[in-house]
């Protein structure tokens, strides 16, 4: 019997697929020499999804994080000598896709991905067996290639072994023990004995949820079927050398791909019905007729694809002598948002997930995970993959499956940047939701909350503001958008707006150690008078942005941290992780106990005063302070701050009183011209006119406070996370400056006005890419209307020589270039630059 050796380890990596092998190596490389890699199957192919992967890598253009992870993975595969460049082409069959190609060719350019839109004849030249008459154009990625992922895993594993790592094959993990007192991992139990360890990384792909459950935790992924057939022997391929000579074709409008694999053509499909499998249903290595995740092919599901494949490659696939030699329902992992699940799981100290990674990002994600495990910070910003990002409802099987079901057929789909889900809606509802529904709220879903983006009841404002609402004629930019947003914006600036902010995450920190803990996390000084509101960044150890939030000091030993719903869970984990080292601190998540509304605009004081007897005058209630006031018989915590650049308050009440507070202001505000205002204003137009930065857009670990233009005159004396880095950032000249740009001319070549939505590359006046000295490209981090200014506004980091106000640049959108002007270099607002309104 191959008993486990050693019986203790610095880290145990479970799963020897592409991720686990690479993670084992990177951990050993970074100093965790006594790492043990365990897999229930034999090496080199233990029988997971890596073993049946189609192994091709297209550069990713839809997400900065995935772009960087794919790029890093490609570099690692190349270094391992297992990468073969073949080129790859996406082909368009319908005209909507052609438009999508133009859009994506531009975003790809932002990330430096080589790409070219080519004609059907050019496609045919590269892929002589493709019938060019069925396509309209191609999106050609010359750097696409295939990898040998099993070989890559083997080399990584052997490198780890050379550094001292151990490999335990054919050893099944049967338990992960958590110390009940500390809540930390202490042991992995296997079929071949026990290993004491304080760090366990789950890299088990489709099985990962099962492993997490062993320790009482959850990983939000589900196995789902991806069908693939292999057809051969193809006579044309008999003369080719190696695995692949012809470019991979993605027939995206039919959700299929065709890729040479030696003498065969592999045809894969994302077109069939979503076939979801429970991790518990996957057969064992022994019971599987092929490998466990190669489930029996269900030909009925694939049959409709055959005709489409034949149509595209009639001679080659229509050859009667060429047979379907292999056909599987291969299992892959899908998560609710399509991103991997990377990081320490919130329920168990020392238990990491490095799951839901594809071949294309495996080595990159493994490196990032190892860097985080060893030093806390990864070179690639992977916060979008943070394992702690999920709310409990997002971890339910029903939710995970519903998202997978809806997302599966969009794998090659034309997906709008703010596309909304249709399944699993109305999960979290604010107490004023019935009123909002009556007002015709059009909701986006954020962190499960239905958040009104605009209100149909405000449609009459369109007439009042006419062309100032900046109507959009192009369907793509008008999708998930309404000119009512801009009308609400103008009405708020003219009078007053009421915003439902119940989706805020509120976390109270209390006790004698509360101040010390928050000082440790915050760049801003928190030793302030009771009743002060502090806007602050939290940094990681390297001085990159970890969070961006406000903190109220409610009492000497009582603070309330307020952050956005989307990043709330990750912020909470960061807070709790640091709280563990402090005595005398209690942390309470009050999100589900509180409802919040925002009341902003020049008439906000009049509205509030009409509903409250308390002093809300400029003298009586200063900007940046908070205190309890009475509103229509409710005890309300009022905080005078603004994210839209107007006089006004955030108002907090117990959640069951939120509906009354909302109704009170709708009623009291009527004589003052108050309108309900959606998140379209709060999150985009209101903030962009003021140049307010948003976490995840402008504020990411890739940029620092100085570059974001948020440097304060003084640095507080107390220590805080990232302080050393912050001090040196202040000393050095920034490599980039966050700028506000306005678009000078929106007219496209067809004469239609086009409005950028974010992610577009900013180019020099002669159309060249802009990259700063740290290698970061200039791209639009946020885009939206500035209705008060009649401009479309873009935020972008620019290198110092281009961050010059008045400078002329280009922004590329839909493969056309539009002139733009650097309106502001730094954080000065475009609208109300002296901030008189906020302080009125």
């Amino acid at each position: 019997m191959n008993e486990v050796t050693p019986t203790s380890a610095g880290a145990v990596v479970i799963g020897a697929g592409i991720v686990g092998n690479c993670l084992t190596y990177h951990l050993a490389r970074l100093g965790v020499r006594d790492v043990v890699l365990v897999d229930k199957g034999p090496m080199p192919n233990p029988g997971g999804s890596t073993g049946h992967a189609s192994n091709f890598i297209f550069p990713v253009d839809y997400s900065r994080m995935m772009t960087e992870l794919t790029s890093d993975s490609t570099a690692q595969y190349k270094e391992l000598g297992v990468f073969t460049e073949s080129g790859g082409i996406e082909v368009a069959r319908d005209s909507e896709r052609e438009v999508e190609f133009r859009r994506r060719a531009s975003t790809a350019k932002a990330w430096g991905i080589e790409v070219e839109i080519i004609s059907p004849e050019e496609v045919r030249h590269l892929v002589p067996y493709l019938d060019s008459s069925v396509i309209l154009s191609g999106l050609y990625f010359p750097r696409v290639g295939v990898v040998d992922s099993l070989r890559a895993g083997t080399i990584m594993r052997e490198r780890a072994q050379a550094l001292g790592g151990r490999v335990q094959a054919s050893t099944e993990v049967i338990g992960i023990d958590v110390n009940p007192a500390t809540g930390a991992v202490e042991r992995v139990r296997t079929s071949a004995g026990e290993i004491e360890t304080e760090l366990v990384a789950i890299c088990c792909g489709v099985w990962s949820p099962r492993l997490a459950e062993m320790a009482g935790s959850h990983i939000a992924l589900t196995p789902i079927v991806h069908q693939m057939i292999s057809v051969g022997p193809i006579p044309l391929f008999s003369g080719t050398v190696g695995e692949i000579e012809y470019p991979i074709v993605r027939d995206v409008d039919t959700n299929m791909y065709e890729r040479q694999h030696g003498g065969d053509m592999e045809v894969g499909s994302y077109a069939h019905r979503p076939i979801i499998v429970s991790p518990d249903e996957i057969p064992s290595n022994e019971a599987a007729s092929l490998s466990p995740p190669e489930l029996p092919f269900t030909s009925d599901d694939f049959d409709p694809q055959l005709a489409q494949a034949l149509e595209l490659m009639p001679e080659l696939l229509g050859d009667e002598s060429v047979g379907i030699r292999y056909a599987i329902n291969g299992l892959i992992s899908m998560t609710p948002d399509g991103h991997p699940v990377l990081g320490e799981l919130p329920e168990v100290k020392g238990l990491w997930s490095v799951s839901a990674s594809w071949i294309k990002e495996g080595p990159g994600i493994a490196r990032a995970a190892a860097e985080q495990i060893v030093g806390g910070i990864s070179e690639v910003d992977v916060h979008e993959a943070d394992a702690s990002r999920f709310y409990p409802f997002q971890l339910t099987r029903q939710h995970v499956r519903a998202r997978a079901r809806e997302g599966f057929n969009k794998m090659y789909g034309v997906v709008h940047p703010v596309e909304q889900w249709t399944l699993e809606r109305e999960i979290r509802l604010a107490p004023m939701f019935p009123s909002e529904r009556e007002l015709g709220a059009f909701c986006y879903q954020t962190a499960g909350w239905e958040r009104p983006h605009w209100y149909a009841s405000n449609a009459p404002l369109l007439e009042r503001y006419g062309d100032r609402v900046m109507p959009r004629t192009a369907e793509w930019e008008a999708r998930w958008w309404s000119p009512i947003i801009n009308a609400e914006h103008l009405a708020m600036r003219d009078a007053c707006g009421l915003v439902d902010l119940t989706a805020f995450v509120e976390i109270d920190v209390a006790g004698p150690g509360a101040l010390e803990l928050l000082q440790e996390l915050s760049v801003a000084q928190l030793d302030v008078a009771n009743g002060r509101v502090v806007y602050t960044s939290w940094l990681d150890g390297a001085g990159g942005f970890k969070a961006d939030l406000t903190i109220m000091r409610l009492a000497e030993n009582h603070f309330r941290v307020v952050t956005g719903g989307a990043h709330g869970m990750a912020d909470k984990k960061w807070l709790l992780d640091h709280a563990a080292a402090h005595d005398g601190v209690e942390v309470w998540d009050l999100t589900s106990s509180l409802s919040t509304v925002g009341l902003w605009g020049p008439r906000a004081r009049d509205v509030l005063a009409s509903a409250s007897d308390d002093d809300v005058s400029g003298e009586g209630f200063a900007f940046g302070t908070c205190r309890e006031i009475e509103v229509n018989g409710l005890a309300v915590l009022a905080s005078r701050i603004s994210y839209v650049g107007e006089l006004g308050w955030e108002l907090y009440v117990p959640i069951e009183q939120g509906a009354r507070l909302w109704a009170t202001f709708l009623e009291a505000g009527r004589p003052h011209g108050l309108v309900p205002v959606g998140i379209g204003v709060y999150g985009t137009t209101g903030r962009l006119e003021k140049g307010y930065r948003a976490y995840g857009n402008e504020l990411t670990p890739d940029y620092d406070i100085v570059e974001a233009g948020m440097t304060r005159p003084k640095v507080k004396a107390q220590e805080f996370v990232g302080k050393d880095a912050y001090l040196s950032q202040r000393e050095a000249a920034p490599s980039a400056t966050l700028c506000t740009l306005t678009v000078d001319d929106h007219r496209s070549s067809t004469g239609e006005l086009r409005y950028m939505l974010g992610g577009e590359p900013v180019l020099t006046p002669d159309g060249k890419r802009i990259v700063d000295e740290k290698g970061r490209p200039a791209y639009v981090t946020s885009a939206g209307s500035a209705p008060s200014l009649g401009k479309h506004v873009l935020l972008a980091y620019l290198p110092p020589e281009l961050a010059v106000e008045g400078g002329k640049l280009l922004v590329e959108y839909m493969s056309e270039q539009f002139p733009a002007t650097v309106a502001i270099a730094g954080s000065r607002p475009l609208f109300d630059p002296e901030n008189e309104r906020v302080r009125a």
């Binding site: 057809v231 022994e286 019971a287 029996p296 049959d303 494949a309 696939l317 060429v322």
Partner: protein
């Protein structure tokens, strides 16, 4: 030349078979279905005969409605007509199966050759082909590894291996032949073949069940001998041990 091939839908099992809790069936929740390797060869042989001599291949099965999948698989390989003798809850034993096939074949008529696999992959009765031939009063050759048909003389030559010798049979057509894996190397379905299969019509009828006198009590799995590997050593030191193993299995003398 009209050939009828009979196939049986069976689960595509892996190394370890899982039974349902009541022990009545193989648990097929996660399994695909196929026909036995012998039957795959029977289909291939039929298709080749028709390709060489003209005519058509009819594929026939007795089983649940899902067995249509196996009929279509055969069409993808070159069969052109499908007959499904659709069974209900009751399991058909070899006698009932043979009677059902005979009834269907009699009704159709006009065949030159009936091909079977030597035995079914699941029950392994080795009976149906022989019983069908007997009931129809036709000659039968079993375990066949080579088949030649002369349509002109309406005779077939069938060969099989038996204890190192080859037996050659000559049969007048129509005849029944049960073939064994190895008679040919079956082709894979082409894409156009699969598309034809999808469109193929299936003639369905309901056969009469009868009691074979045998009834299934329960399935159980035989004890699997645990395999183990012995590491003989590493590097040069391992050579003597390796040599003695090779000698013991007769590879070295």
């Amino acid at each position: 030349m009209e050939v009828i091939v009979c196939v049986k839908r069976v689960p595509m099992v892996g190394g370890r078979i899982v039974l349902t809790p009541d022990g009545q069936r193989i648990d097929t929740k996660l399994l695909g279905f196929t026909v036995s390797p012998h039957e795959e060869c029977a289909v291939e042989e039929a298709v080749r005969l028709v390709e060489a001599n003209g005519g058509a291949v009819t594929v026939l099965t007795l089983g649940p409605p899902e067995a249509e999948e196996q009929l279509r698989d055969a069409v993808a390989l070159g069969a052109s007509k499908c007959v499904l003798l659709e069974t209900g809850e009751r399991e058909f034993g070899p006698i009932a199966t043979a009677e059902a096939i005979v009834a269907a074949v009699r009704e159709r008529g006009g065949y030159d050759l009936l091909l079977f696999g030597n035995e079914a992959a699941d029950t392994g009765d080795f009976q149906v082909g022989i019983r069908v031939a007997h009931m129809l009063g036709l000659p039968v050759a079993t375990g066949i590894k080579s088949l030649e048909v002369d349509p002109g003389s309406r005779r077939a030559k069938a060969r099989r291996q038996y204890r190192g010798a080859e037996e050659l049979f000559e049969l007048p057509l129509p005849a029944v032949v049960t073939v064994k894996e190895g008679i040919n190397l079956p082709r894979y379905p082409s894409l156009p073949g699969r598309i034809r299969a999808k469109k193929a019509a299936v003639e369905t009828s309901t056969p009469v069940w009868r009691d074979d006198g045998l009834s299934k009590r329960e399935l159980s799995l035989p004890e699997v001998e645990r395999r183990h590997a012995e590491v003989l050593g590493q590097g040069k030191e391992a050579v003597p041990a390796l040599v003695s193993v090779l000698e013991s299995i007769g590879l070295l003398t």
